[in-house]
Amino acid sequence: MLKLGIDVGGTNTDAVLIRDSTEGAVLGVTKAPTTADVTGGIVAALRDLRETTGFEPGDIAAVMIGTTHFINALVEGGSLAQTAAIRFGLPATRALPPLVDWPQRLRTAIGGHSFLCHGGHEYDGTEIGPFDEFEFRTVLDKAVQAGATSFAVSSVFSPVNAEFENRAAEIIAEQLPGAPVSLSHEIGRMGLLGRENATIVNAALRDLADHVTTGLTRTVAEAGIGAPVFLSQNDGTLMDIDYARRYPVATFASGPTNSMRGAAFLSRTPSCAVVDVGGTTTDVGILRNGFPREASTDVSVAGVQTNFRMPDVLSIGIGGGSHVAQGADGITVGPESVGYRLTERALVFGGGQLTATDIAVAAGRADIGSAGVIGNSTRVAHLDPSLVEGALARIGARMAETVDRMRISAEPVPVVAVGGGSILVPDDLPGASEVIRPEHFAVANAIGAAIAQAGGEVDRVFSVSPQQREAVLDEARQEAVDRAVAAGARPGTVEIVDIEEVPLAYLPGNATRVRAKAVGELSLGGDRDA
């Protein structure tokens, strides 16, 4: 079974062809410049991949696409729909209406339409007040008159009871057939403002999502490929193209997630530390069973506080372009860097700045003869061997320390070194059981997309009495599994990869927040019946 993985980044569009994820053979890779319409780069990449590998479009079983297009659109504030943010919560929540902590620029870009209605639920699932249909219809009329075309609906404790949001969606569908509706319980987790903000962002991206998903489907079809198209989500699992049309916000963190998962896959080590060395920084992340460990703190995206789970990444200011200097206090490496101007400024390329790459070349780490891209080693032959050795030791020590701070036990971990500057990672990195340098790491993002599975997640507050604890956890597990199957996983392959229970503080009655995540192999073509 052949799969195509495509990563549409801000600069480049990468495409890879792989044969079945478990076997893991990479048959071809390519890069093309990303075009403003997103699809141009894909067309070029697919054409190139077909020429180099000779694949038959009919043999492709699935196309997986990862893209940073939606998060970039939010950051730039362009192509955003006029959005009505409607919340059920009155008389509570009045003090902090929807859009309360948004940057003015973005608030203006989506029209600033913020509305409050009565209702929502208490933590135990009882109503704060009844659903007031007249009030909601009035708000809807006002929103439409104000110019809103996309609707974000949130309700207090909707992760416990989604009734208000669902009723609102029915009324919108009846009154404004076809209007895009985003419901907070389908998008975020506990924490009203973070969940609501993610929902509003999603609603604002719906027009663009329509446009982009239509373009992606058409592009793939025009390449003669009849296989289903999927998009990668934040957590490293997939959504089908219709889901992506409705939930563009679910692609936001897919970039770093795909990159790490791709690196782990290429090196066949599902639990590892990934050390990604770029021009200016080194990013270190940890994978457990093929999924990145998530950051514990809320993240702000383009100035909007959301409660997405993003991969936990620690960055240090050392990269291939880092300045190297011999000062009074010893040798320093970074944080200043020549960055993308490495090929003009570094000594090996005839420039005047001593960089980490020069050090690596002088130490013989980079085999210039074969690659022919790391410049001229004679230009660094004059460097004092003690400087070269000292700088390398410094780089190795900083990287080892960073890996050590990220890893989760005293056990040495396998380290997967990727990125343009990965020659800086020493083979004998302290704390690493081994250092693996996979092939094709330059297209790790696209590989990460290609190998993704289908997943499902539950994040809810349950009332857990001590005798029922196991029953409640089973209920959460089952719900996560059901969601994974609904998202396209083949029953029987679905496993729980993470389960977490956190009792709520200062709250009698054993209210416990349970989060469970399940993933499984994607059900493709005929094997749905198997």
Binding site: A92, Y123, R293, S296, A410, L504, Y506, L507
Partner: protein
Amino acid sequence: MREITAADMKDMARGAAVLGTGGGGDPYVGRLLAQQALDRHGPVRLVDVDEVPDDALVVPTAFMGAPTVMLEKLPAGDEMTRALRALEKLLGRTVTHTVSIEAGGLNSMIPFVAAAELGLPLIDADGMGRAFPELQMLLPTLGGIPATPMAVADERGNDLILRTVDNGWAERLARSATVEMGCSAAVSLYALTGAQVKEFMVRGTMTLCERLGTAIREASRNHTDPVAAATDVLAGRRIFTGKLVDVRRGTAGGFVRGDAVLEGLAEDAGHTLEFAFQNENLVARRDGEILASVPDLICVLDSDTGEPVTTEALRYGLRVSVVAAPCDPRWRTPEGLALAGPGVFGYDHPYVPV
């Protein structure tokens, strides 16, 4: 006296979270509430304890309930002023000042809302100098000041007045009322005279929050050590730097109890630090030896950013530093320890001052 504007609240909230010693509720929602109120009504006058006349009528406001609930069911906004007004009406005298009962966490921010809306000056002080889980755990309790009469107000418009035999009963009855109100409600209690504020409250804690928050932010921006900066402001001591390798949690009587284990990094490599929490951090043991315990402050800060880490955010793999800082000396007296010492939280070891 100085004026506090919405722009000052971010630093103050960060510092308040440090004094929250892991609990007290994330001040995020409290900060937003305060910022909204300050934007709408203008700056709040923050007055020094010495500026308060002895015969002033000082009425604190606070939120009671589950902070996690408050992140979901946000306040209506007028609960605190309604609670304060209800108590004022009962007392039959005009309130002249408001003050925080708890500088740690969310409740450092709440009095700013009441002060802004009612145009009252806010006193630079609080009743704990940190955060505690129960409302009788206030220094004024040691001074014999009753918590009641007390008003409890919810977002629906329910006001409740409590008169109790002691401050422990005020906690019990108000807690169950809060649960009925959906696990979050505003309270107004511990009406004090200016003279009593001078005698029984902890001075300067609002500006301490601000100084802490500013120090962490500036150190972080200047790439100096933010944990060291916070430690200086707290006049505390960094007792451990490490990586969180285990967290165990469970509920007991409505409170989250748990333990966390840190594995040492840098100079602490090869050692472990265990700390126990019940909403707030209570006891820290290094290789089994008690280094710090309640009522002293045990603050867990992110080693890189200096940002305070709450007990609910404790997760495997976090890199944190633990800072111990001395509590107000009155907590260290036999009476203080009987009210909020290790024994109150179920520990049989003697108190070890930091």
